[in-house]
């Protein structure tokens, strides 16, 4: 499974990132640099999962006044304020789905409680903020590590799929044949990126020792396709392209420009002499 391999590779990077972060925090505590060092206003916490309706991380941090009203409003104690040593700007709200996921309250009390718009109702509603729609929530994105997913071994698990509040929409099952047994199918959970709310009920439910499905902020979880290619079979795909963008990032192989290159030197064996 090439997808799994890719994921594995990305995964290693992210895990390293996680542990670096943890080490950093530990070092900070050990060094006694508790408050001053950690309360660095405005510093992004790239792995923090923010409450429903949160603006982009930098905008969110700019607007969040650390009042804790969203945390107070959460009926499930999902949201926690970052304390010293957490690796996140102290006093900002976030969630750790493996401990307590977001249950996607339809009245979204956390977002409603935010006095500054750091949690923006417009992002969790339709009709420009008039009708709350918790399914618009984008806390992050569930990502799968198929290497450690027992469904990908062929076992019948799909606990994450059944835990998903948008079952068959945000997590679907992909059915493939198990060539080894010759008589069983694999039921593989698959996250639908455009529907997943990042609530983390899947991460919470995952039955392996360290969750094989976990929520990451979109900035960390998602790749990005360049603007130079549009899917020919998808009529709306071109909306993705920014016509004013445009990449001047080509690799300049010839170094000094085409003419200089063409006029400079001769072919064969002399490159090393430069």
């Amino acid at each position: 499974m090439s997808g799994a391999k890719d994921m594995d590779r990305n995964e290693t990077g992210r895990r390293e990132f996680f542990s670096r972060l943890a080490r950093g925090a530990a070092a900070a505590v050990a060094g006694g640099v508790v408050w001053g060092g950690l309360v660095r206003e405005g510093q992004n916490a790239p792995l923090a999962l923010r409450p429903p309706g949160a603006l982009s991380e930098s905008e969110f941090l700019a607007k969040c006044i650390r009042c804790g009203l969203c945390v107070e409003a959460c009926p499930y104690d999902t949201l926690q304020l970052a304390g010293p040593g957490s690796g996140e700007p102290t006093g900002t709200p976030s969630l750790k789905p493996r401990e307590v996921p977001c249950y996607l309250c339809t009245d979204i009390p956390c977002t409603v409680a935010c006095p500054t718009g750091a949690l923006d109702l417009a992002l969790v509603s339709t009709d420009n903020g008039r009708t709350l729609d918790v399914n618009q929530t984008r806390i992050g994105l569930a990502v799968m590590d198929y290497h450690n997913c027992i469904a990908a071994w062929g076992l019948r698990c799909d606990a994450c799929y059944r835990a998903c509040p948008l079952i068959d929409k945000a997590i679907t099952l992909e059915h493939t044949r198990n060539e080894r047994t010759g008589r069983h199918a694999m039921l593989l959970p698959k996250v639908q990126t455009d529907v997943c709310t990042g609530c983390g009920l899947c991460e919470r439910a995952c039955i392996v020792e360290e969750a094989a499905i976990f929520v990451l902020p979109h900035e960390v979880a998602l790749g990005k396709v360049g603007d130079n290619y549009v899917r020919g079979w998808d009529e709306v795909d071109q909306q993705r392209v920014n016509p004013d963008g445009g990449a001047a990032d080509q690799v300049d192989q010839s170094g000094a420009g085409a003419l200089d290159y063409l006029n400079d030197g001769v072919l064969g064996g002399e490159v090393d002499d430069d």
Binding site: I150, W153, R156, A159, I167, T181, H184, I207
Partner: protein, 924 residues
């Protein structure tokens, strides 16, 4: 390569997992794994959980199970498991495993019903237990005691308890929790084929073109079989059709070509619609030769009630409860029943007096014309109107689906398997619906062939192997024999070396009735084994009260504290599955044995040991004298014959039933048990209660004695040693070969001897001489003999006794989830499974909820005439409910849904309908 100890273990686990799924392993990893596995021992086992019967392999080291893998050699699962199977090892080591006998005692340390549980010695526990037994037995006789058994008993445990209770104590008051799950299937098999259990096997999945789920959520309840069905669908997606008949959208709908949401109870009407379609509209599709040669038509009485208490004025029930209970006596017929019972002269609004409740099991042979006449009302229009279960679906759409369903069954050359589990079994007409399934398959000649047949899926790991084959039911003996048949008793007495007329011919109380008897003071001593009656039985409020407030003594043998243990007086700590030798029999007649892998934890001891130690405390003279059962039945004094057989008055039941001369001839050690623990034979390192083993191979003896009941009687099982060399075998095992499809000459050697020269023989011997009659009843005359014939039953649709109305507007259905097993006593202790599904929720339709101001996650009360329970509403989960129906799983003792459920049963099978009662739902 310097690997840490922890890394070593990790590598070993990874390599064994890789082996199970056929992955290649790097040589250095393999070497490391072999190093880590030093001191490991792998041996085969079988999954502790559902009736699928997946094979597993267990690794033990230092007397502890350290890893589990799916057994790649097991035909059922080929190395795979579901998430319950994945945690087979982890269920054994919960923090609150019961490790000591616990007795309710007063300050002086003596038994006191109002006392608190305190640890006592095994000797004290068993002495008190035996004393209390004798008190109850002497006062009330054999019906004054009762044993709650299990479809999760090992075969040996069920056999020991059946022999002890029936053969020793002369009581038939032993009944398994399988009564709650498989009894209707049993009645279907016995009445239609004369012998229990399916003709086909799981390989039908790979042979069939069509799988129809009739109230079987296989995607969650038989996860590995669902993986096989899915694979079959993937193999030929256009040819293979899957139809999911259900009362709400469940996980099977996801893959099915068609989902049919029907109104609870109307599955029988849908079967009858298919029969109507065959008989009235496309008679050319009847396999006439098959029907003529191998079947007869039959029917039975309808005024049979709903298995509730016969006395609706029972003083312990409230006015509200009586509103439903009175229907046991009489019921006003509905519009639908006016049509479906018209053949008996009834019309809507008539009152049916349920006079034949006691004779519900009776049936008689009818002519095809009668059969056809009975089916007359079940037109597409009538059935669609009656059965449409989703108010939001159009009638046209529903009709089209029913038509498609019938078309698939009727399509010539289309192979079709009908699967069902609790949807059809837990049903106040459960036996009838099972029979209706066979009727369709038999009419079309699509039964007992690869890929063709009606297949009842079992819920529990040994509902077939133990509860049914051993016969731990109140009316059964091993190998389909029954206590009510004098010849069967005589045969069993010989097998068990009992004096003639020791066995009691009056069937005992079924599972629910055991609890009713406790409430009525008719049972004062009971023993609960491998089940949790106070959580798993409907009308639970009554039973909890009866246990704690009545004069009785309740013993619960279990591995973890349960609701039943909480209401008990004595708790005995039991050994778990791999802490003892054992065997289970799965839904496809596959018998699978395993060996003891580890020493039981703490002072826990195997249930077989508990039974034998109890038996040591009962002497023959205490139970084999003249014994009054009831006003009409007194069991004779069999002591004179017992003495003539060489027994003495003071011999114990242990001496006679379990440690007799033949038993002791099974020597231990035995080559098959080389290097294997055997607590019963040789004791173990703990020497619990000073026990150092019985000195003989108890399990081999029990097996060899037990299998004699079936050999040559269509229930042939192989010898003990064989099962330890193979991955299970499907009975009957003849000349060392298993039988894949029964009743079909191509596969089943019994056909040639029973019905020479014929392709089929439905040779089951039970109920094969029946009176003849018409739809109204039997007509006096000679009984018709029916050798090798199956019965095609006509059974009419009838309403359940409790249906939603203005006051109680919702149907309540209970059931399970993939993550948890039954009452959750094991799986709720596995942290991963607990975290995945920490509580039972109330699945509810979104628009129903909105109307009541209920939001997702809100706490709601679910209340019936019997009680109420609080749960969180779930509007968007794995189950999508149609308006008017709610569903709550029963695994969570904190959401004790059986306080709400109604203990109405199928009047024939006595299996409770856990799928239907009327409730109101409101915000808490």
């Amino acid at each position: 390569m310097a690997l840490s100890r922890r890394d070593f273990m990790k590598q070993a686990a990874a390599v064994s997992a890789a082996g199970a799924i056929g992955m290649k392993v790097a040589p250095e990893a393999l070497a490391a794994a072999q190093e880590a596995e030093k001191g490991w021992k792998w041996d085969k086992g079988v999954c502790r959980f559902c009736g699928t019967g997946c094979g597993i392999m267990l690794a033990t080291r230092n007397d502890k199970i350290v890893a589990v893998k799916g057994d790649p050699a097991a035909p059922v699962n080929r190395g795979l498991n579901c998430i319950k199977g994945y945690f087979n090892a982890k269920i054994m080591y919960g923090k609150d495993r019961l490790t000591q006998p616990l007795l309710r005692v007063n300050d002086a340390g003596e038994f006191d019903k109002q006392g608190k549980f305190k640890p006592v010695s095994w000797d004290k526990a068993l002495d008190v237990m035996a004393d209390k037994f004798k008190e109850a037995y002497n006062e009330l006789g054999p019906t004054g005691i009762g044993v709650f058994g299990s479809g999760q008993y090992t075969i040996h445990e069920g056999y020991v308890m059946s022999k002890l209770v029936k053969g020793g104590l002369r009581s038939n008051n032993i009944d398994p929790n399988a009564r709650h799950c498989m009894a209707s299937a049993v009645v279907g098999f016995i009445q239609a084929f004369g012998i229990d259990e399916p003709s086909g096997n799981y390989d039908d999945i790979e042979y069939t073109d069509t799988a129809v789920m009739w109230g079987a959520n296989m995607a969650e309840m038989h996860p590995i079989l669902w993986a096989r069905i899915t694979d079959r669908k993937l193999a030929e997606p256009d040819r293979v059709k899957l139809i999911n008949l259900t009362t709400y959208t469940n996980r099977c709908s996801n893959l099915s070509d068609t989902e049919i949401i029907f109104k609870p109870q109307t599955d029988l009407a849908i079967w009858n619609y298919i029969l109507h379609e065959i008989v009235y509209n496309r008679p050319e599709m009847i396999d006439q030769e098959f029907v003529d040669k191998y079947t007869v038509f039959a029917t039975g009485p309808c005024d049979v009630g709903y298995g509730m208490r016969s006395n609706p004025d029972h003083p312990k029930y409230t006015e509200l409860e009586r509103e439903t209970m009175v229907k046991q006596v009489r019921k006003v017929l509905s519009e639908a029943e006016g049509k479906t019972l018209a053949h008996l002269g009834y019309k809507a609004g008539d009152t049916m007096e349920n006079k034949r409740a006691a004779g519900a099991i009776k049936h008689w042979i009818i002519k095809f014309e009668d059969f056809k006449k009975g089916l007359e009302p079940y037109t597409l229009d009538f059935v669609a109107e009656l059965a449409k279960g989703d108010p939001d679906e159009s009638l046209e759409s529903f009709k089209a689906k029913l038509q498609q369903l019938a078309d698939l069954y009727l399509e010539k050359d289309r192979k079709i398997v009908s699967y069902w589990t609790m949807g059809m079994n837990q049903h106040t007409r459960g036996s009838w619906v099972n029979e209706a399934a066979y009727a369709v398959h038999l009419m079309l000649g699509k039964q007992a062939q690869p890929g063709n047949g009606a297949f009842s899926l079992t819920g529990q790991p040994s509902a077939c192997g133990t509860a049914r084959e051993v016969g731990t039911f109140a009316h059964r003996l091993p190998a389909d024999l029954v206590v009510a048949n004098a010849k069967h008793r005589e045969f069993s007495e010989k097998m068990w070396k009992l004096p003639a007329k020791t066995l009691n011919g009056k069937p005992g109380s079924h599972y629910t009735k055991l609890l009713r008897d406790i409430e009525d003071g008719k049972i004062k001593w009971s023993w609960v084994q491998v089940c949790n009656p106070w959580q798993n039985t409907a009308s639970a409020n009554h039973w909890i009260k009866a246990a704690r407030e009545m004069d009785n003594f309740i013993v619960v043998s279990d591995v973890y504290p349960t609701i039943s243990a909480k209401v008990a007086d004595l708790i005995l700590p039991s050994a778990m599955i791999f802490e003892k030798w054992g065997a289970y029999g799965n839904a496809e007649r596959r018998t699978q044995h395993w060996k003891q892998q580890v020493t039981p934890v703490g002072e826990s001891m195997p249930d077989v040991w508990q039974a034998m130690e109890f038996a040591k405390r009962i002497t023959l003279k205490e139970v084999w004298g003249e014994t009054k059962v009831d006003a009409g039945l007194t069991l004779p004094d069999v002591m004179p014959e017992a003495r003539a057989m060489g027994y003495t008055d003071d011999d114990t039941l242990f001496d006679v039933l379990f440690a007799n001369k033949e038993a002791r001839s099974y020597k231990w050690p035995d080559p098959i048990g080389k290097d294997t623990l055997n607590t019963l034979a040789e004791g173990d390192k703990r020497k619990v209660a000073g026990f150092e083993g019985y000195g003989f191979f108890v399990h081999k003896y029990l097996w060899e004695e037990y299998r004699k009941f079936g050999v040559g009687h269509m229930h042939d099982l192989a010898d003990f040693d064989t099962y330890h060399k193979v991955r299970g075998m499907k009975w009957p095992v003849i000349d060392g070969k298993e039988t894949a499809w029964r009743f079909n000459a191509d596969y089943d050697p019994y056909v040639a001897s029973k019905n020479p020269g014929e392709q089929f023989a439905f040779y089951g011997p039970a109920l094969k001489a029946m009176p003849a009659g018409d739809l109204a009843g039997p007509i006096k005359g000679d009984k018709v003999k029916l050798p090798n014939k199956a019965k095609i039953f006509f059974r009419p649709y009838m309403d359940p006794p409790e249906m939603p109305d203005n006051e109680w507007p919702f149907w309540l259905c209970t059931g399970r989830v993939l993550e948890h097993w039954h009452t959750g006593s094991m799986t709720m202790r596995v942290p991963e499974l607990y975290r995945a599904v920490p509580e039972a929720v109330c699945y509810m339709n979104g628009s129903d909820a909105r109307k009541k101001g209920i939001d997702d996650g809100d706490a709601v009360w679910i209340e019936s005439r019997r009680g109420k329970v609080k749960a969180h509403a779930e509007l968007r989960g794995r189950n999508t409910m149609p308006p008017g129906t709610v569903m709550i799983p029963f695994f969570d003792e904190r959401v004790l849904v059986n306080k709400v459920c109604l203990d109405a049963t199928c009047p024939i099978s006595k299996e409770t309908d856990f799928k239907k009662c009327a409730v109101k739902v409101y915000k808490a």
